[in-house]
C-alpha cells in the first residue's frame, strides 16, 4: 500500500492474493491448455503405437503356428530302391516326384482307416492337402537312412498353405469355389481329419529356423537363413565400423588441429549421416561388385555397404561422448606428466566407453533394419535357401537379410506369404528391441555423470 502512495502511476492492485486477477487466470489457463496439448500429443502417440503393435501381432502371430499332417508312410522298395542294394547314390536317382504318390497313398490310407466318409477316394485327391515340401522331407530322411526302405515310418509333414489358411481362418469357405487349389470337399475332409487327430496345429519352429521357400509352398518358408545373413552382415559392420569410427573420432576430438580441413571433414561427416541409404547401395554396387569384383548377394558386400552407412552415426556419437568427459580429467592427467595419448587412452576413453557402445549398438540396430541398399546389391529375391556351410561361406555365399526377406515375402502372390511377412516383422522387432534394451542397460550401469 505504501508503494502506491509513493508512486501513483502504478495502478492499484485489486482483490486479494487468494483470488487470481484476470491476467493471471489467463496465463494459468494458457499453461493448462499447453499441458493438455502435450498430453494429447502423448496420447495420440501411444494410440498409434498400440494400433501398430496390435496390427502387427494380430496379422503376424499366425505365422508362428503351422498345420501338420501326421501319417505313417510305407516306403515301398519297388519304388524307391528298385535294385534293392540300399545304395544312397542309386536311390538319389528317384526324384521327389517319385515320392509324391507314396505319400498321397499314405494319407488316403489314413483317411480310410479313420473311417472318414468323403467323396475324395483317389490318392491323387490328397495332393491338395499336402505341402509340396512333404516329398523332399521324406526323401531326405530316406536317403540319410537307406535301411528304412521297406518299412512303414511315421512322418509329420506340412499341410498345404490352403489347409493351413483354413484352420487359421484366412481361407473362407465362400471363397474356395473360385480357388482352383482347393475345394469345399477338401475342407470337409480337413475338418474330419482334424477331429481324427491326423491334422493338427503346432508351434512352427521352421518359421524361425528354416530357409526361404518358393512361391508354391509358403507353408515351408522360414526366416532362419536370412537371420544368419543379417548376423554375418552385422559382424562385418561391427568389426569395421567400431575401430574405424572410434579411431577417427579420437583423432578429430583429441589430436586434430582446428583448421579448415578438420572443419570440412566434420561437415562432411554430419552430411554423410543424413545421406539416404539407397545412395550407399548404388555406391556399393559400383565399388564393391563392379569394381572390386566381390560376389553378388554376399553378406560381406551387404556388411560393407552398411558399414558406410553406420560409420557417421558411430563417429558422431563417439565424439559426443568424448566431449562429455570433463576437461579437468585430461588436465589432471597431463598435469602429472602423462602424454596426450596416455591421457586419452587411460582416462578419457574408458570414461567415454559406455556412450560409444550405446552409439554403436544403436547404429547396428539401424543397419539391421535397413533394406534399401540391399536391393541394389542383389540381396532381395529367392536367395536365402542354403544354410551356409562354414564361416567363409557365411560371408561369401549368397544370402538375404531379415528386412530384405520380409520385403520379398510381402511381394509374393500367395496370401499366406503376407502372414509370414508380418511374422517376420515380429521377429525383427524383437531383435531391435533387445539391442536397444542392451544399449539402455549399458548406459544406465556404466555411464558417469559429473
Amino acid at each position: 500500500m505504501t508503494d502506491a502512495s509513493i508512486n501513483p502511476a502504478v495502478p492499484k492492485r485489486h482483490g486479494s492474493l487468494m483470488s487470481a486477477d484476470a491476467r493471471t487466470a489467463k496465463r494459468n489457463a494458457a499453461e493448462k491448455r499447453f499441458q493438455m496439448y502435450g498430453m494429447a500429443a502423448i496420447g495420440a502417440g501411444l494410440f498409434f503405437l498400440v494400433v501398430l503393435i496390435g496390427a502387427i501381432l494380430s496379422s503376424g502371430i499366425g505365422a508362428f503356428q503351422q498345420t501338420f499332417i501326421t501319417v505313417p508312410v510305407y516306403l515301398d522298395e519297388a519304388k524307391l530302391d528298385k535294385k534293392g542294394n540300399r545304395d544312397p547314390a542309386e536311390m538319389a536317382k528317384v526324384s521327389t516326384f517319385g515320392y509324391n504318390p507314396l505319400i498321397q497313398k499314405a494319407v488316403l490310407a489314413a483317411v480310410e482307416e479313420a473311417g472318414i466318409e468323403t467323396p475324395l477316394k483317389k490318392s491323387k485327391n490328397m495332393k491338395a492337402l499336402l505341402s509340396a515340401s512333404a516329398a523332399a522331407q521324406v526323401r531326405d530322411v530316406v536317403l540319410a537312412n537307406p535301411d528304412m526302405v521297406g518299412q512303414t515310418v511315421e512322418f509329420r509333414m506340412l499341410a498345404s498353405s490352403r489347409v493351413d489358411g483354413y484352420l487359421k481362418g484366412r481361407v473362407q469357405r465362400e471363397d474356395v469355389a473360385r480357388d482352383k487349389n482347393i475345394d469345399a470337399e477338401h475342407l470337409d475332409l480337413t475338418d474330419a481329419l482334424r477331429e481324427a487327430g491326423i491334422v493338427s496345429k503346432g508351434f512352427n519352429a521352421g518359421f524361425i529356423f528354416g530357409a526361404d521357400a518358393s512361391e508354391s509352398r509358403p507353408e515351408q518358408a522360414g526366416l532362419g537363413v536370412s537371420m544368419l545373413g543379417s548376423f554375418f552382415m552385422m559382424i562385418v559392420v561391427l568389426v569395421l565400423s567400431l575401430p574405424i569410427g572410434v579411431a577417427a573420432s579420437i583423432y578429430l576430438e583429441e589430436f586434430a588441429p582446428q583448421n579448415r580441413w578438420t572443419d570440412l571433414i566434420e561437415v562432411n561427416i554430419a552430411n554423410l549421416a543424413a545421406v539416404p541409404s539407397i545412395v550407399f547401395g548404388i555406391l556399393g554396387l559400383a565399388v564393391f561388385i563392379q569394381f572390386a569384383h566381390l560376389p553378388q548377394s554376399a553378406p560381406l558386400v551387404g556388411g560393407l555397404v552398411l558399414t558406410l552407412m553406420t560409420l557417421p552415426t558411430i563417429i558422431i556419437s563417439t565424439r559426443a561422448s568424448l566431449k562429455a568427459v570433463p576437461p579437468s580429467i585430461r588436465d589432471a592427467a597431463l598435469g602429472i606428466g602423462a602424454s596426450k595419448m596416455q591421457a586419452t587412452f587411460h582416462h578419457v576413453l574408458p570414461l567415454a566407453m559406455p556412450g560409444i557402445l550405446t552409439g554403436t549398438i544403436i547404429g547396428l540396430a539401424q543397419a539391421l533394419g535397413e533394406t534399401a541398399p540391399l536391393l541394389l546389391i542383389g540381396m532381395v529375391g529367392y536367395i536365402a535357401t542354403n544354410v551356409p556351410d562354414g564361416i567363409a561361406a557365411g560371408f561369401l555365399s549368397p544370402n538375404s537379410a531379415m528386412p530384405a526377406q520380409i520385403y520379398e515375402w510381402a511381394k509374393r502372390a500367395d496370401p499366406a506369404y503376407y502372414e509370414r511377412a508380418w511374422g517376420g516383422i515380429i521377429i525383427l522387432l524383437v531383435f531391435l528391441l533387445t539391442m536397444n534394451l542392451i544399449a539402455i542397460i549399458l548406459r544406465r550401469r556404466f555411464e558417469r555423470r559429473w
Binding site: R139, A213, E215, I265, P295, Q296, G378, V380
Partner: protein
C-alpha cells in the same frame, strides 16, 4: 569422405584376394518369371547335389541389362524375361562380349484385367474398350480428338457408369510391352484411330508409336512395383481395374474378379488353345560361355524344361503357367545348347 574412402580401401584390400569361385547358379530378371524360377530352383536344390540357385527379380529389362554386362563369375548366368530379347539388347550384350546366348521358352502366361471382387461389374472388355479408356487421342464420330471420356459408360453402354481408373504395369516390366501390343495397339486398329492417324499425315511407324501412348491425366497409373502393389491399389479404389498375370489372379481369387477379353475368359486352357488374345511367351536366356564353368547351370536349364517340371501336369502348370505345346523342341534346344541365330 576421407574416412569413407579409407574404409572402402581397407575392405577391398582385405577381401579382394579371397573372392572365392562361385558354385551356385545366379538368375535375375522378370518378376513374372520369378515364381516359376523359384519353384524350379527349389526342386532343383532338393533333387541335385548342387546348391539351390539364387533368383532375383527386378523386371525383364533390368535382368537382361545385368545379363549383358559381361562374361565372368561376377555376372549373372541366366536372365528371366517375360518378353523376347530385343535387337538393341543383343547388341549391348555383344559389345560386352556376351555373344552366345541360348533362348529358352518355358511356356505362356496370360495377362488378365481384374477389379475388386465387390466392385462394379467389369466383367467383359474388348481391346477397343481399353483403348478408348486409356489412349490420349480417340475416335469420336469419325474424328480423332483428345480423349473426352471420364466414365466407362461414355463409350460402351454395357460397361458400368464408373470413373475410369486403371493400374497398368510400368515401362520396365515386360508385361507392359504385351499390354501395349496385344491390347492398346489392337484397340487402336479396331477403333480406326490408327487409320485416322495415318490419314492425317503420320507415317505408319509414327502412327504405331502414337497408338501405344496412354493418357497422362491420372486415369492411367503406371505401377513400377509388383502385382502386390497393383492389388493394394485395387483394394483402395473400388472403381479401378488392374493388369495382372494369370497366376497372380489365380492365387487371389478371393479379392479379385476377372474380366473376359473379347468374350474369352482367361484360363490355362483358353490360353493354351490360343483363344484368349492377351498372352505372351515367357523366356529365360542362358550365357553359353558359363556352361561348364558354373556348376549346375546346364542341369538347372534341363531340369527347368523337363516334362515333370514344365509339362502340363508339372508344378509350374499348377501354379499358373500355360505349358508350351512344343516343349520337346525347347528341350532339344537346351540339350544341344543351340544359341540364338544358330538353329532358329
Amino acid at each position: 569422405m576421407n574416412i569413407k574412402l579409407t574404409a572402402s580401401a581397407l575392405a577391398i584390400a582385405a577381401v579382394a584376394t579371397s573372392a572365392a569361385a562361385r558354385d551356385n547358379v545366379q538368375v535375375a530378371g522378370s518378376s513374372t518369371v520369378l515364381p516359376y524360377a523359384s519353384i524350379v530352383a527349389e526342386a532343383f536344390g532338393e533333387n541335385f547335389d548342387f546348391p539351390t540357385p539364387v533368383v532375383e527379380s527386378g523386371g525383364s529389362s533390368a535382368g537382361l541389362k545385368r545379363f549383358c554386362q559381361g562374361v565372368g563369375e561376377e555376372h549373372t548366368d541366366v536372365a528371366n524375361a517375360s518378353r523376347a530379347i530385343r535387337e538393341k539388347e543383343i547388341k549391348a550384350c555383344a559389345e560386352n562380349g556376351v555373344t552366345d546366348i541360348i533362348e529358352v521358352r518355358i511356356g505362356y502366361d496370360g495377362i488378365v484385367f481384374a477389379s475388386q471382387f465387390d466392385g462394379p461389374s467389369y466383367t467383359a472388355f474388348t481391346q477397343s474398350d481399353i483403348f478408348n479408356a486409356l489412349a490420349p487421342k480417340v475416335m469420336v464420330d469419325g474424328q480423332l480428338v483428345d480423349n473426352p471420356y471420364t466414365k466407362w459408360s461414355d463409350f460402351n453402354a454395357d460397361l458400368p457408369a464408373e470413373e475410369i481408373l486403371a493400374f497398368i504395369p510400368g515401362t520396365k516390366h515386360g508385361t507392359r510391352e504385351v499390354f501395349e501390343e496385344k491390347v492398346i495397339a489392337a484397340g487402336c486398329e479396331a477403333t480406326g484411330a490408327m487409320e485416322a492417324m495415318i490419314a492425317s499425315g503420320m507415317s505408319e511407324d509414327d502412327a504405331e508409336d502414337a497408338c501405344l501412348e496412354v493418357r497422362s491425366d491420372g486415369r492411367s497409373v503406371d505401377i513400377d512395383g509388383d502385382y502386390t502393389e497393383t492389388l493394394a491399389s485395387i483394394d483402395a479404389n473400388a472403381n479401378a481395374i488392374g493388369v495382372f498375370g494369370l497366376a497372380f489372379y489365380e492365387n487371389n481369387t478371393d479379392k479379385l474378379k476377372v474380366a473376359t477379353m473379347a468374350g474369352v475368359e482367361p484360363t490355362t486352357e483358353s490360353i493354351a488353345a490360343g483363344d484368349y488374345p492377351v498372352s505372351r511367351p515367357l523366356y529365360f536366356y542362358i550365357k553359353k560361355a558359363h556352361i561348364g564353368v558354373i556348376p549346375g547351370l546346364k542341369e538347372y536349364a534341363e531340369f527347368f524344361v523337363a516334362d515333370e517340371i514344365a509339362g502340363p501336369d508339372g508344378p509350374l502348370a499348377e501354379y499358373g503357367l500355360v505349358s508350351d505345346p512344343e516343349l520337346e523342341k525347347v528341350q532339344a534346344i537346351v540339350g544341344d545348347e543351340v544359341t540364338m541365330g544358330e538353329g532358329m
